[in-house]
């Protein structure tokens, strides 16, 4: 029964002219599928919806949901944006769509098998040979497929839209490494948090079954080896990839290890995952890397992202890859011109879902048609790699148009002409109310033994501004949860539990690949660098304040030493070490630069960004709480005024120091003390040890007048959070020997160097290459050496004025040596556990074929 439009929210909604609308039908009535939601939205009103939107955005930010934009000058990540108004599809219409999608997936699967098999479609002329041979996605080294699988096409995705006549059609096919299913699930999880009752009462089909199917299918792909469970990994191009969030999210939701190419290695004809000191055999690779990048030996020589030798292992059937290598050949708009014939031939069926009318220019008649109707068509290349995107000839000037015609005539097989796409609009929350936005729905299918299973729902993307057809996330699009509305209450209660859980990290994967190890270690190191610099700047600003108040030479001398220490510690030379500059007299500009100059290596902002990037790469291993703090740091960093004023400084520093402390606390508190945790811990110990020895070197080695020294020692104690501890323990003003004991030698002060070495040793002993007491690993020896030297030292001897020697020499020697040993231990860890810094390289080309000329 159609509802009437009474409320302000709905009555103010005006569909876009010339486009069908999802909410309002042609007669101006609310579509029955939307009746319940429309009422609910009306009840919420504009303000209520805006509140929900804020809530959604907060959840998304806290969960760190991002979509990376390479070219974004504002930074690597862009927050994922989700509209509070979902996209709705009724059961009846969905049933037809689902059936049509299954047919299309079946068809694509059969075409893939034929292309990488007997190529009968080519011999029969049902598929022109050039569509295969001229397509960059056709990978000759992968021909023929030898798996004997019924469904080599594991995953298939299709972008759907609605034409002006109301029918749903396929805009685009995705077979390479379809993305978006994880975002669709994430959207659902977040909607479930923000509007649980609405979701429940709307009788929405659940998504969880799709992912169970995916898991089952991937397991079944494993080569038979008789082990209990298939070892599946998710191969990502890395944390800079635009959909990296999804890679990490899916990996942890499905319980698979997330790996980069360098984490995998081919040996003895198999693929192995490098994890600490051992190699674990890999059975199945769910790849989110384009297939040609997967193997620098056979597919794309310049690729550094893949696993050299992989193609051969796949050929031998010793590892399965989903989607299979070579599946990108199906991403070809020209297929549309031949699908009806192929469907008849292979299935004996009419094609159920239409696609835009398409003419392949390789066919002479079609080419002439396209050229004669050029202005009413769009021109598209048959593959994305050729560099060309969709061209709208109607918008070109004469010379560009002529050039296009020439190109089409010269290599017609590379182009299709297509009728421009139509889209429907869907209500989307704007500033003042609901606005119509054009929409595209990405749907997802996964192969099962008996056919394809469709995710009931999908990822809807809408344009940022009304009637803008660019809906990609890269263009800054907005997403919607997609609800397939059941006619009866959904009774999949058992699956609900899975769906409403976080999908947060489960740490089910015990494997710790080199890339993740390295990122954990460096995440902690960068955080420590930022933290120490912030703390020292805080001390400096306080001393600065005192200098202004008194301007005694003692204070001035103390300030200068601290400033030099800051430069040494942050590695921002020349900085305050450059005596020719005025920076010591007027330190504020340089101080602000060390804090905020993001391009400057060693600055606080630089280190925080590096810490964020590293954390991003190991997000599947961090708890939601940790992730929330990281989100807050990112947020705070992006809001910082540039440059900070001196008045703002103290507040910002305190806040960042607190956030970093929260990060460390949560690591301790919410992470399983596993290998991953150990590397965070060791990263912090190593960095804190290095920075503290540098700091003590700058402060303590050169003897000062008594007054200056006492002021400096106080500052040092303050910087290392040990002022109170000192005064509890020693009832006299700060003295060098007692300070050394507390900040350098002590193994119970969490800020002292000795403490770091003890912690480091303890953690090193838990690593796989740690040996029995009489056969220590290289890094263990180094740590033991450093720690023993400290333990055997006495402040009195370190500070002795030996007469002939330079004063402070024993201390300086000890600090320098400790620093060196720590740095070497870190390097030794890197050599053993991190990614091979060199990566794969091509053999230089051989001397060329020459050939003699008589």
């Amino acid at each position: 029964m159609p509802a009437t439009l009474k409320s302000t929210l709905l009555s103010a909604y005006e569909p876009l002219p010339g486009h069908p609308d999802e909410l309002i039908d042609a007669s101006g009535q609310v579509n029955t599928t939307w009746t319940y939601l429309a009422k609910a939205l009306d009840t919420l009103g504009v303000d209520g919806l805006h509140q929900r939107q804020k809530h959604l955005r907060r959840i998304l930010r806290e969960r760190g949901v991002t979509y990376n934009v390479y070219s974004d000058p504002a930074g690597l990540e862009r927050s994922w944006d989700l509209d509070p108004v979902p996209m709705l599809i009724g059961s009846d219409e969905w049933a037809r769509v689902e059936h049509g999608l299954q047919q299309r997936a079946d068809l694509f699967n059969l075409i893939l098998k034929d292309i990488y098999g007997p190529q009968e479609l080519l011999a029969r002329g049902l598929l022109p040979a050039e569509l295969v041979h001229a397509h960059t996605g056709f990978l000759r080294p992968c021909h023929p497929y030898r798996t004997g699988l019924n469904h080599p096409l594991t995953l298939y995705a299709a972008d759907l839209a609605r034409r002006p006549d109301g029918t749903i059609y396929v805009l685009e096919d995705r077979t390479q490494a379809p993305s978006g299913a994880g975002y669709a699930l994430e959207n659902r999880v977040v909607m479930n948090r923000a509007m649980p009752s609405l979701l429940r009462e709307s009788q929405v089909h659940r998504l969880a079954l799709f992912f169970q199917n995916l898991r089952a299918t991937l397991s079944a792909l494993a080569p038979p080896r008789g082990q209990d469970e298939a070892h599946v990994v998710v191969l990502t191009p890395g944390s800079r990839n635009e959909t990296y969030f999804e890679h990490a999210f899916l990996a942890s939701y499905l319980g698979y290890t997330l790996v980069e190419g360098g984490d995998l290695t081919v040996r003895d004809g198999r693929v192995w995952l490098r994890s600490m000191d051992r190699l674990e055999p890999v059975d199945v690779i769910l790849r989110r890397l384009d297939d040609d990048y997967c193997d620098a030996l056979e597919l794309r020589p310049e690729s550094l992202l893949g696993v050299p030798g992989l193609t051969e292992v796949v050929r031998q059937g010793s590892v399965a890859v989903a989607n299979p290598l070579g599946a990108g050949v199906l991403e070809n708009p020209a297929l549309n011109a031949f699908l009806p014939g192929i469907a008849q031939h292979l299935l004996g069926q009419e094609l159920e879902l239409p696609a835009p009318p398409t003419w392949w220019c390789g066919d002479p008649d079609s080419r002439e048609y396209v050229l004669s109707k050029l202005d009413s068509l769009v021109i598209r290349p048959i593959d994305q790699r050729s560099g060309a995107r969709t061209i709208v000839p109607g918008t070109l000037d004469k010379s560009a148009r002529d050039a296009l015609v020439t190109r089409i005539r010269w290599s017609p097989q590379h182009f299709v002409g297509q009728t421009p796409s139509g889209f429907s609009s869907v209500p989307t929350l704007g500033d003042l109310g609901l606005e119509p936005r054009l929409a595209v729905l990405r749907t997802f299918l996964v192969a099962r033994s008996d056919g394809y299973a469709v995710m009931p729902g999908g990822l809807t993307r809408v344009a940022r501004v009304p009637s803008d057809p660019s809906m990609s996330n890269r263009a800054g699009g907005l997403s919607k949860d997609t609800w397939v509305i059941a006619t009866e209450p959904v009774r999949e209660a058992s699956l609900l539990a899975i769906e409403v859980t976080d999908g947060g990290p489960t740490d089910r994967s015990a494997a710790l690949p080199p890339a993740a190890t390295e990122n954990l270690f460096w995440m902690a190191r960068y955080a420590e660098r930022a933290d120490q610099a912030l703390r020292l700047v805080r001390v400096i600003t306080r001393v600065q304040q005192a200098t202004m108040d008194t301007s005694r030479p003692v204070e001035t001398r103390c300030l200068e030493t601290l400033l030099r220490a800051l430069t040494a510690m942050t590695g921002t030379q020349p900085g305050f070490l450059d005596n020719t500059r005025d920076s010591l007299r007027e330190p504020t500009p340089e101080l602000l630069s060390v804090l905020q100059h993001g391009q400057r290596t060693g600055s606080v902002t630089f280190n925080l960004h590096a810490m964020l990037a590293a954390s991003h790469a190991v997000r599947d291993r961090l708890s939601p709480d940790i992730w929330r703090v990281i989100g807050a740091i990112r947020q705070r960093l992006s809001e910082l005024p540039l440059p900070l004023t001196v008045e703002e400084l103290a507040g910002v520093i305190d806040e960042l120091v607190t956030l970093l402390a929260a990060l460390r606390g949560l690591q301790e508190d919410t992470m399983v003390h596993s290998r991953a945790w150990s590397f965070l811990e060791m990263g912090r110990c190593v960095e804190r040890g290095l920075l503290t020895t540098t700091f003590l070197h700058a402060i303590l080695v050169t003897p000062e007048k008594a007054a200056t020294e006492s002021r400096l020692l106080d500052a040092a104690l303050e910087h290392l959070e040990s002022l109170h501890a000192y005064h509890r323990e020693y009832h006299h003003p700060a003295q060098r020997d007692s300070v050394l004991r507390l900040l350098l030698l002590s193994e119970s002060n969490p800020r002292s160097v000795g403490f770091q070495l003890a912690r480091l040793e303890a953690n090193l002993a838990t690593l796989p290459d740690a040996g029995a007491p009489d056969e220590l690993s290289a890094e263990q020896r180094l740590a033991l050496d450093a720690r023993t030297a400290l333990r055997l030292s006495e402040p009195e001897t370190l500070l002795v004025d030996s007469g002939t020697a330079t004063p402070g020499e024993p201390l300086e020697a000890l600090l320098t040596r400790t620093h060196r040993l720590l740095a070497k231990a870190a390097q030794s860890l890197a050599n053993t556990y991190f990614s091979d810094p060199q990566g794969p390289r091509q053999l230089d080309p051989m001397p060329r074929p020459g050939g003699e000329r008589p």
Binding site: Q119, L122, A123, R124, G125, A129, E130, H133, A134, R140, P141, H143, T265, V266, R267, D268, G269, A296, L297, E298, P301, P308, G309, E312, R315, Q316, W410, S411, Q413, D836, Q838, G839, P840, R841, Q842, L843, D844, P845, M846, P847, R848, P849, G850, G851, E852, R853, P854
Partner: protein, 300 residues
């Protein structure tokens, strides 16, 4: 005519390589005029993994992986082949008029036709260009059969382009070869292929060896030969016909064929990916084409 071909490649690395993955196109192909009597590849150090397959173009490929640290890789292919002369050499009047050939092929769905059609298309190292079609045009007057036209094109490339091993490298674009009119056998083969494809005739790259004869009174220099490259064109009536633009003749009993593909990239004799080491690899190649029936050879 029997030959023993020895193709030895050595890579030396200034620093030790941990692992290496390689693919070699070193096995001679069996063809109408060539039989492979023996073929083996010796690799040092010993590969931990080794397998043979036939690639998409029907060439034999050897895949191997070395997993032990090494600073020297040596790959030696030793093959014995027997060549027979084409029964009757083609007269230039034979074959299909070139325009007709192009029209027949464009829609040919026979096995050989389908196979040939992929060699009409651009490939990574060979792009069709209008300028190349124009360069080739004088050799292709209306109605001229494919063999005569291609033979003429070969002669012109031989005359117009200087053989100069210093002029180009493996990555020199074809455009520059065309502009500067110099290069080596690989460049001439690519150029001819590009010309033919620009005229819509299927052309493929052939990799192999050519026997070099010593000047009278001197003995052959062992290992002085190099691997060689030429091209083949498809005539629907005659099939694939080989042409060697570097030496301006159709290969006969002195050309040993190893592999063919769209361009050099499909059939490079040895390629690989290595882990570890540093810049500054050095490589050396020695090829020796040794006639085994000296008497017969002297008579020919």
């Amino acid at each position: 005519m029997r030959y023993r071909v020895t193709h030895r490649t050595e890579y030396s690395y200034p620093r030790t390589i941990g692992r290496g993955y390689n693919e070699a196109h070193l096995a001679p192909r069996a063809t109408r005029y060539q039989q492979v009597r023996d073929h083996r590849v010796d690799i040092h150090p010993m590969p931990a993994y080794r397998s043979r397959r036939t690639d998409y173009f029907g060439n034999g490929v050897l895949h191997f992986a070395i997993q032990q640290p090494h600073s020297l890789l040596s790959v030696t292919a030793i093959s014995v082949v027997e060549l027979t002369s084409p029964a009757a050499s083609i007269t230039l009047a034979e074959g299909t008029p070139w325009e007709t050939a192009g029209a027949i092929i464009s829609d040919d769905r026979s096995n050989s036709g389908l196979e040939a059609r992929q060699f009409l298309l651009d490939s990574p190292l060979v792009e069709t260009r209008r300028a190349l079609a124009q360069y080739a045009a004088p050799s292709f007057p209306a109605g001229r059969p494919v063999p005569a036209a291609v033979s003429d094109l070969m002669g012109r490339i031989h005359a117009d382009f200087a053989y100069d091993p210093t002029a180009t490298t493996i990555s020199t674009p074809l455009e520059r070869v065309f502009r500067e009119r110099r290069g080596v056998c690989q460049d001439f083969a690519h150029l001819a292929i590009a010309c033919l494809r620009s005229l819509r005739l299927p052309a493929r790259y052939v990799s192999g060896y050519v026997e070099t004869t010593a000047p009278p009174g001197q003995s052959r220099l062992v290992g002085a030969d190099a691997s060689h490259a030429w091209f083949a064109v498809y005539d629907p009536a005659l099939g694939w016909l080989d042409y060697d633009p570097t030496n301006n003749r159709m290969p006969g009993t002195q050309h040993v064929t190893t592999a063919w593909g769209r361009d050099y990239g499909d059939v490079s004799p040895l390629k690989g990916v290595i882990f570890g080491g540093s810049q500054g690899q050095r490589s050396e190649v020695a090829v020796d084409v040794e006639p085994l029936d000296a008497e017969e050879h002297n008579r020919s």
